[in-house]
Subunit: 312 residues, 2 copies
């Protein structure tokens, strides 16, 4: 299993290539929630999301032969853009399998960072099949968006920075999709200050992690009909055991709750965030009693929103 | 005329009650413009705009008798909210005359800060008549949104902070409406580093300052049919002479240019800004040759945007 030591090494490896993102606070949202909220703003990260952390860590660890064969992945967008950026920096080529309903900004982000988009249908089976076909033809090196220890190590550096900046947090809430960010955050918190309780926030419309924890084994998403285009993936075999070991609870949210908190953050904090991370604020507001009077870190994972199609 | 010394005194007076806002940079907008851009982010300011600076300075200078009579103003919104906040802190009452087409968020901001909204028609004459009626009935103390030296002193503190943080700027661009922000910025730059060239950015659809400079005397706006709801006011008798003395040039922009730069800032910087200040980026992009290779400060004056009515 990934350890804090691995995350520290990953942080040293990627630090020259990423931003140390700021942590913002907001008086009016503190008053509204009754908690002290610390927003770790990965929407200001390179390529617009935390994904550059894991992607850079993994690409830096590829040998020249792996890189020369080309790099491929499936992605709802943010991982694809981040991977393209990390691979382009090493002068390699990236192919990104993306569902055709991906927001335009995420498609442009892949292309702007030198990646090539390969379209698939918006479901897990099509994603995997198109990728498999691609790899069998090209022999390229696959960098999975989350189910890879090198990715988990990289994503854990966001939580590490947050805890370094605010060591006495009572809780951290991370969105959960494939589980890379949540599992990395769990290992960082466990290693740096095990008193910090770490929660996952997940849409009810794609609540596989919630259901998997309940059942004690991985169960598939029944629907992925959520506005959170970054939270439609299926929890991974590498990330799930970490979550099972350490997570406090998965808080599940309705689409309405997610959109409402997204608008609140835009209006009051004047920052552009995806619904895939405003969900962490929804979790605080839904479980108000749990967080009242507590210092709570929220991982604002990304800001790549299609401005032409806002959900209000 | 207001001096740097006045602005320094105003800054000391208001510092406990305002944020020292961050200055952000963005690699992709630097590449696009060919300049080094420094965004002074007053969208993160208290009440969502720079207006709290002038309002706080003025309200702090009111005597108890002036405060007790109640405070009144006309405002497209940001000054009204800021004034309400500053007056509420001194336990006074504020009445704000606002055009009925003001974005909802600006109305809510006034009310949230303890102000009372009085409606008027969206033109200068109606604004002034409704205010005059109000004052003749209530005897309240009027705090004008810009044509007041105490306001100019306060607004000048934004430019002062920017120059303190980046003393070797080649240029600063400020939006211009009634002229409080631009004239304050001019005096700060003139006093701190007269080598800095200060420009105004103004919508073609409300270009009274551009025309007034050309004519050598104040001329009225012919239209105020601009998306920039913060830039519809008429240049003032106190602010105009300062602008006449020191401004480099007023750059005028089309509505299309303003909306395009607004979207660029949201998409690339992940911050919510008003069209009334994205106009400064439009000015850089329109006058590219003027700013190529230069260090340019842009005053991002506010972030109070009605998310239900975005211009794209």
């Amino acid at each position: 299993m990934v350890t804090l030591k691995d995350i520290v090494a990953a942080h040293d490896r990627i630090a020259p290539f990423i931003h140390r993102t700021p942590v913002l606070t907001n008086k009016s949202l503190n008053e509204l929630s009754g908690a002290e909220l610390y927003f770790k703003c990965e929407n200001f990260q390179k390529a617009g999301s935390f994904k550059i952390r894991g992607a850079t860590n993994t690409v830096e660890l590829l040998n020249q032969n792996e890189l020369d064969r080309g790099v491929a992945t499936t992605s709802s967008g943010n991982h694809g853009a981040a991977l393209s950026m990390a691979v382009s920096r090493r002068n390699g080529n990236t192919q990104v399998v993306m569902p055709h309903n991906t927001p335009k900004i995420k498609v442009r982000n892949v292309e702007r960072n030198g990646g090539q988009v390969i379209w698939c249908e918006p479901d897990q089976t099509s994603r995997e099949n198109v990728l498999k076909d691609l790899v069998s033809k090209t022999g390229s090196t696959v960098v999975h968006p989350y189910n890879d220890e090198r990715i988990v190590m990289g994503q854990g550096t966001a939580g590490k920075e947050l805890i370094e900046d605010f060591p006495d947090l009572d809780a951290i809430i991370s969105p959960v999709s494939g589980g890379g960010l949540l599992s990395g955050t769990l290992i960082s918190a466990q290693g740096l200050n095990p008193k910090i309780k770490v929660y996952g926030a997940e849409p009810i419309e794609a609540d596989d992690t919630f259901l998997s924890l309940k059942k004690g084994e991985i169960v598939a998403n029944k629907t992925i009909d959520t506005i959170c285009d970054g939270l439609r993936a299926q929890i991974g075999t590498i990330t799930f055991p970490i979550i099972q070991s350490y997570v406090q609870e998965i808080i599940t949210l309705t689409e309405e709750e997610i959109v409402e908190s997204m608008k609140m953050i835009w209006e009051r904090m004047k920052i552009v965030v995806e619904p895939s991370c405003s969900i962490t604020l929804s979790a605080v507001l839904k479980s108000r009693e749990l967080f009242r009077g507590k210092k709570v870190g929220l991982i604002i994972s990304g800001g790549n929103v299609d401005l032409e199609h806002l959900p209000w």
